[in-house]
Amino acid sequence: MTSDNAMPHDRPQETARRAALLGLLFPAAALLSGCASRAASARAERPEIRGGPGAFAMNADGTRSFRDHELVDQDGKRVRFQTDLVEGRVFAATFMYVKCNGICRDLVSRMREAHALLAPVMGDPVQFYSFSLAEDSPEDMKRYMAEHGLDRLRGWRMLSGPSEAIRDIRWAFGFFEPNEELDRNIGKHTGMARFGNHRTDKWSACPALGAPEGIARGVIGVLPREDCARIEWYARQHRQNGRPIPGWRAS
């Protein structure tokens, strides 16, 4: 796990030094330099993550930091797990892969139904992340999303990265099998969805193979209260159409 331990937030001083140097060499880049310094400063506030795979650290403000793995989404865009996907976000995370012949089709179907129930908050603030367990390429992920009609859904990303990084994320979210063979067998991978609100450090999980209403409820369980008004309005509309969202609530 040495590569996991060498993430940028573990070297904030180096980042800040480079940013300052850039500002000296190119005055026009001074603003950028300032931004970089602030970013480095924010990262400097993240505590060191100790422990093995799946470890995380608590920040002084009551939020948590995971290892900032570099991942790629279905559009080929490079993102950082902690910086771009977790910090300040509300999200639902599942694990799957393009060539899965097991539970993924069902899992995606139910997540898609949950997405429909959560339409008013999807994209802002709620994100759906589907992490690839098989190092799928952006092209494969993009094709998969198109085949399953996910590409048209707001706030849904597929993300891939080195299997060790995905395992670290999976374990950090608590999806761990104590039996090594089972843990590595992606044919029997987890069907759980993890819901998180980084800002309030609110976390829950439920089976993504359960009722879509349950998944929606899980997301709503970690939502900020102000966003629940939108859901409430939407649920009312749905109720009139005979499709209520049971058990909605605010965090």
Binding site: M1, R50, G51, G52, P53, G54, A55, F56, M58, G62, G102, I103, W171, A172, F173, G174, F175, F176, E177, P178, N179, E180, D183, K188, H189, T190, G191, M192, R194, T200, D201, K202, W203, S204, A205, C206, P207, L209, G210, A211, E213, G214, R217, G218, G221, P224, R225, P246, G247, R249, A250, S251
Partner: protein, 550 residues
């Protein structure tokens, strides 16, 4: 007593962890767990026995002239007129600042009535009550816990709408009325219960909310277990009596103890690993919310009602001198007869009711410790190993005062306590339930929890036999709402004559266990649940809704 089937020595843990991390082989030990891999920080060191054991105040009903505002809606409750409330309570659920030890920091917790543990209900059969729960939590609860709540009286025989059905959670700024009829199940006094507890049961967030402080005792008394060791009634058991009420501890001999195992960050604030699906395991023990308190006892008999508050810890409780005591009740119930024992095992949410006679100790014995000898290294359950007495964690120090004069001890432990009620209704159906794990998801009969529809519908006034089994490497304390059950067989063996042969509302099943239970469905109709009381499992869908219909 049974032992789980899996286990490795705790003494090898550090070696195995170090080896695994060094070689990259993370699974060389079958007991390897996420908790070990993550190398979670340990709680700050605390000096033991600095503080006396504390007790919550009694829950106080409103004055008789004061109604609830707004008034209770009788139409919302089954048999309201028949069990017209004699007492009205108003319970405020709010945040509180709690410090478990002088060397730790104050933590922001949830509470009933700004008290941790929550105020103790001193209820009596034949005296129905309304408890209005008002949710005054903030709209945003930072960290573990949730602002929505629903109170459940564990082991209560209550109407569905007052039971604390997990889906009935309510938000800050609102309230919910619970109608507690405090009546014997089926009208049978042999169904009397004594040690109940109430806790939050919010769907998906029970483990976090209970760990955050929403738990307290709900004690029930009647003419037999009257709570008065001087009771002139010849039918009264006259067990050691007097539940402490806040600071009124002197000459009180009926002592409720709730056990938790929290973890604290380096600053001393209570934390919870909400990501670990196996369950949460702390590295400190608290008794009534305090880390390693002491309690002064007289040389006489004491009744201790010990509750495992969870979320995932199992106990094997001994006194450090291995002294014997009388085990008089398990879960909420008095046993048919006391059993002499020198340890009790507790799964999550189980209770042990014991009477300890300190007058039998030699005068040289001035200190005794309550210790936990169950080895457990992760949330999956105990390993089955027994920790040596010398290294077993000490939970509570009992300081035995010198004998003072002719202090009388009028209490007793009769040889007959509470005969078991008859299983007189023929079982009209047999159902099977298998607690399992598939694709990392907790399931019952391969189904994931869905509270929108029942997985079983039973008829009021009937009885059924349920066969409950489990597999895999996890222990599952199976808890039933509404009714207690009787274990007919465990792994095809009868359990009569043992503690397990009494009435049960929660029963820990270990890998491969299979039990047959007998259960009646009486008095109330509506939605109820059966679930694993490792509340982390429960929150992740290891729950079944079943309904009683007329």
């Amino acid at each position: 007593m049974r032992t789980p089937k899996i286990g490795r020595s705790n003494s090898r843990r550090d070696f195995l962890k170090g080896s695994a991390l060094a070689t990259g082989a993370f699974f060389i030990n079958t007991r390897f767990s996420l908790q070990m891999l993550r190398d979670e920080p340990t709680s700050p060191f605390t000096i033991p026995w600095l503080q006396p054991l504390r007790f919550p105040n009694y829950a106080i009903p409103l004055p008789s002239w004061q109604p609830l505002d707004p008034l209770v809606d009788p139409a919302a409750h089954q048999r309201y007129e028949e069990f017209a409330p004699r007492y009205l309570y108003e319970h405020e659920i709010c945040e509180t600042q709690h410090r478990a030890h002088p060397q730790l920091a104050f933590s922001t917790l949830s509470s009933f009535c700004d008290s941790f543990p929550a105020p103790t209900f001193m209820m009596r059969y034949g005296q129905p009550a309304i408890v209005r729960m008002r949710n005054h939590l903030p709209a945003t609860v930072q960290g573990f816990g949730h602002c929505d709540v629903i109170a459940h009286v564990h082991n209560g025989h209550h109407a569905s709408e007052s039971d604390g059905f997990p889906g009935d959670h309510f938000s800050p700024g609102t309230f919910r009325d619970h109608h507690y009829a405090n009546t014997y199940a089926g009208g049978d006094p042999l169904e009397a219960k004594s040690t109940l507890w109430y806790h939050d049961h919010c769907l998906d967030f029970t483990s976090q909310n209970v760990y955050r402080g929403l738990a307290g005792f709900y004690l029930l008394f009647d003419d037999k277990d009257s709570g008065d060791e001087n009771d002139p009634n010849p039918d009264a058991l006259r067990l050691p009596s007097g539940v402490p009420d806040g600071k009124r501890v002197k000459h009180r001999y009926d002592i409720p103890l709730v056990l938790f195992d929290p973890r604290f960050d380096p600053q001393g604030k209570q934390v919870m690993d909400v990501m670990n699906m196996d369950g949460h395991l702390g590295d400190k023990y608290t008794v009534n919310g305090l880390v390693q308190p002491y309690f002064e006892v007289e040389r006489r008999k004491y009744r201790f009602r010990i509750l495992d508050g969870g979320p995932s810890r199992f106990y094997e409780l001994w006194f450090s001198n291995s002294m014997e005591f009388q085990h008089i009740g398990n879960d909420g119930n008095l046993l048919p007869a006391p059993i002499t024992a020198n340890f009790v095992k507790l799964g999550v949410a189980e209770r042990a009711d014991i009477v300890v006679d300190f007058s039998q100790l030699p005068s040289t014995t001035t200190e005794v410790y309550l210790v936990n000898r169950a080895e457990q290294i992760d949330g999956r359950g105990p390993t089955g190993n027994r920790i040596p007495m010398a290294s077993a964690p000490k939970l509570l120090k009992l300081v035995i005062r010198p004998k003072s004069g002719n202090a009388l001890d009028p209490s007793r432990v009769p040889s007959v306590l509470k005969p078991l009620p008859a299983m007189d209704l023929p079982a009209i159906a047999t159902r099977t339930w298998h607690f399992d794990r598939t694709n990392g998801m907790w399931s019952v009969n391969g189904q994931l929890a869905d509270l929108s529809a029942p997985q079983a519908i039973v008829k009021q006034g009937t009885a059924e036999i349920w066969e409950i089994s489990t597999s895999g490497g996890w222990a599952h304390p199976v808890h039933m709402h509404l009714e207690e059950y009787r274990v007919l067989t465990l792994n095809d063996q009868p359990v009569t004559g043992t503690v397990l042969g009494g009435r049960k509302d929660v029963f820990p099943l270990y890998a491969g266990d299979r039990m047959r239970i007998y259960m009646k469905f009486r008095d109330w109709v509506g939605r109820y649940v059966m679930h694993c009381h490792n509340t982390v499992h429960e929150d992740h869908s290891m729950m079944v809704r079943w309904d009683v219909v007329p």
